[in-house]
């Protein structure tokens, strides 16, 4: 944006760009500004000059729509089936344990699993998504099957809308397991860090084999059994990826995936211990993001429908009136109230990151245990309330006056890790730097308003092909 222009955003995410002169005039006497700007500000609900009650009702309707994700309470339930993993990725956020040493003491026990399922059904949400996590969840296959069966049995009377996802490196998949996943409608979330050499660089198997080769082999088994859309891979960007995102994107497209999430490395688990070798500054990440994003945009221009999911989330927030739940980036935070995680031992944490933090010794966010505590103690306790009340943009220093507030979110666990304080400290926050940087970047495209680029954005937002979106 030209420095002579000012971007204004209201509490429901509607925006307008006006000249600095108009902005100054607006501050002194709104009625003195040009009538077209006045009308624009009025139709976007920045102010009203005729019917205050209606203006409030319109804003309230829009706010309610945007915050609709709060209506259902906790719907994402992550279940850590095991802390063991047959892989030993350099950046493992979850600090996984070895599989070879003796009995698998860090597998979820059947009685704990049953208690977790019962707790999940205490949630008032009509939508329940159960995400199996690890370690490598397929190591504890029997308990995965047990949970699926128990959930479906209870749901015969509970009648909730169920979804299952298993987060797996896919190395332990075989035809029968894939069949089961297909039959039960379980989606696969997996990892893919690029072409073989780049993927194997940090995604290491404990037995020394190539994780890439096994991934490709099993992907073909899965694709024989399930629809391709049931598998979505996630990329972890290390320093080695920064300059090579186009290669990674090409690999995703080559394997038939429809999009990619360009996310920065999070400071948890092994990644935090080894930050010097794996990490990078946020400025470096933003530069890499821009390069990757522009590469994706070019692919779309050339007729390949390929989505960048983080941009799609932010663009949806800027360009649509709808609610976009994203547990890691929403106000108030998704911690506990949108998503929750049950560790293998039955301990309950408000987010995956909180459980990762606990693995490294800090149990600050532990909400309770499914065996010892009631639903009320865990979900209605003071601990969760205080976390949430400190994650509302309206009261967070730095966020209260930020122009991007309506598009952003908070992550109290991340704040705590970064600054030692749940509320966080914006001036030195990498989280803030990243979101500001990327929203700035995307806004440039929006304000440029190139018809082809906007068509591509809308095809991402509405999940339609480019042909369906454009004139």
């Amino acid at each position: 944006m030209e420095s002579k222009e000012v971007l204004l955003v209201n509490c429901v995410g509607e925006y307008i760009v006006i000249s600095i002169q108009e902005f100054n005039a607006l501050l002194t006497n709104p009625f003195a500004i040009h009538s077209d700007t006045f009308k624009l500000l009025k139709c976007k609900n920045f102010f009203t000059d005729y019917d205050l009650e209606l203006a409030i009702e319109m804003l309230a309707t829009k706010l309610r729509t945007r915050k609709a994700f709060l209506r259902n309470f906790t719907s994402l339930h992550m279940v850590v089936l095991t802390a063991h993993c047959n892989g030993r990725c350099d950046y493992c956020h979850a600090s996984s344990s070895d599989v070879a040493k003796g009995p698998l003491s860090q597998n979820m026990r059947p009685d704990v699993a049953d208690a977790v399922v019962d707790m999940i059904f205490m949630s008032p949400s009509q939508y329940i998504k159960i995400e199996f996590q690890g370690g490598e969840p397929l190591i504890n296959w029997e308990v995965l099957v047990r949970i699926v069966h128990r959930t479906k049995k209870i749901n015969k009377t509970a009648n909730k809308k169920l979804e299952f996802v298993v987060c797996t490196n896919m190395t332990l998949l075989d035809y029968d397991k894939a069949k089961f996943l297909m039959k039960e409608g379980i989606q696969i979330s997996t990892s893919l860090d690029g072409p073989k050499e780049l993927h194997d660089l940090h995604r290491k198997m404990r037995d020394g084999s190539s994780s890439y080769d096994k991934f490709i082999e099993n992907l073909s088994i899965v694709c024989r059994v399930m629809e391709a859309e049931s598998v979505s891979p996630l990329l972890t960007i290390t320093r080695d990826h920064l300059k090579r995102l186009p290669e990674v994107i090409d690999e995703y497209i080559r394997l038939g995936f429809k999009g990619i999430f360009l996310r920065s490395l999070n400071p948890y688990g092994f990644a935090r211990e080894d930050l010097a070798a794996l990490g990078y500054s946020m400025e470096e990440f933003i530069e890499a993001y821009k390069e990757g994003f522009d590469y994706i945009l070019q692919k779309n221009r050339n007729g390949v429908h390929f989505v960048e999911y983080f941009a799609t989330l932010i663009l949806s927030r800027i360009l649509t009136p709808f609610s976009t739940r994203f547990v890691d980036l929403q106000f108030p935070a998704g911690a506990g109230i949108s998503g929750v995680i049950y560790d293998y031992d039955g301990c309950v944490y408000p987010s995956d990151e909180a459980r990762m933090l606990a693995r490294t010794g800090d149990k600050k966010f532990l909400l309770g245990n499914v065996i010892d505590n009631s639903y009320e103690e865990i979900f209605e306790g003071n601990k969760l309330k205080s976390i949430i009340s400190m994650s509302c943009a309206e009261v967070m220093p730095g966020c209260t006056s930020c122009v991007y507030q309506a598009y952003c979110g908070s992550d109290p666990v991340r704040n705590y890790v970064e600054s030692g304080d749940v509320m966080g400290f914006r001036p030195s926050s990498d989280f803030c730097k990243k979101n500001m940087g990327i929203i700035d970047f995307l806004f440039k495209y929006i304000l440029e308003n190139n018809e082809q680029v906007m068509d591509i954005f809308w095809s991402w937002i509405t999940g339609r092909s480019l042909e369906d979106v454009r004139l």
């Binding site: 829009k62 018809e451 509405t462 004139l471």
Partner: protein, 385 residues
Amino acid sequence: MKSFQGSAHNISEPLLGRVARKHLLFDGDHTVVIQKFRWGLGHKALLTTNNDLPKQYVKMPCVYGVSQESLSELHDGDVIKVYPDGNIVRLWEYGSDQNVIFVTDKCNCHCIMCPQPCDSCSTSSFLHENEEILNIISPETNSICFSGGEPTLEPKQLESLLAICKRRFPNACISILTNGIALSNFNNIKRIVEQGNKLLFCVSLHGDVNDVHDKIMGVEGAFAQTMRGLYNLARFKCWIELRFVIMRQNYERLPYYAEFIYRNLTFVSHVAFMGLEYTGEAARNIENIEIDPVEYSTLLRKAILCLHRRGMNVSIYNIPRCLLSRDIWRFSRDSISTWKKTFLDICDSCEEKVNCCGLFKTSVYISPHISPITSSKIDNNRMPN
């Protein structure tokens, strides 16, 4: 509405009835019967092309000397009204989806472009006649439109008409053309909606800000009331079509209006942008409101693009294709009623004539930019991508 003229005989007050061409006594080609009863027996009156009245029917109400052309336009199942002066008006055309029931001629607005100015203090009631129409039209009728005046100003009448529809045409698509003001009253809507069929409300909203809309409607506060009405309709999960008539006063708002709809009224099922029909008040105020579609074609394209990208249904009514950017042709509909639709002579060579909505016969203004579309011209005149 289509009307014909003949010479009346024995008609002392208007007669309303259903047309039957096939009848034991008459040949259908030259004489048409107006049925006396719903189930088809007996006859109320005759329409005939004969210039003299056949002697045996001297006592029967009759219109004679009707042209053969007029008579052949009447079909079994049409509902017509015959006046003592020999005028014949078709109130309902069998099988057409353009039929309109005029609930009242009262209106609470004074739109500067109203094609059918009404009498704001009219006391005439059409209830009886409307009930009769709904009671005698074919039970297979699948589309009924209620208009006015402003139909919501007679909620009781509207309710009783809707009750007939619910009973006789439970699956028909019922639409109500309204300015939405009276719908700001929650109970008004509640009573109307409770009558049954799923209703489509076609609501006029000619601007994204109060100043523009209120000025067009001639009523201060209209915008706010209509917005409340729209929220109420959403509460009852009614189908809503928004209608935006493009004129001098609001054409600059087109792109902002589209964005406004998406942000605030996302629940509407359809948005229609409409060209002007220069008749009635619109003809009287022509200097004030007149705008050629060519002048707003870029802005209209922007508005269409905005809504289409966002996955909303959008249409263009009453604007001929030659005045629209080519890439928005697919949004234009055949919106002008057959009896009002016309073309210019030059349109005969136009390749898009069959897909075009045409022009209003009733309009006193015709764009000077109307020109036939031919393949060669399409290539030369590439519209922006």
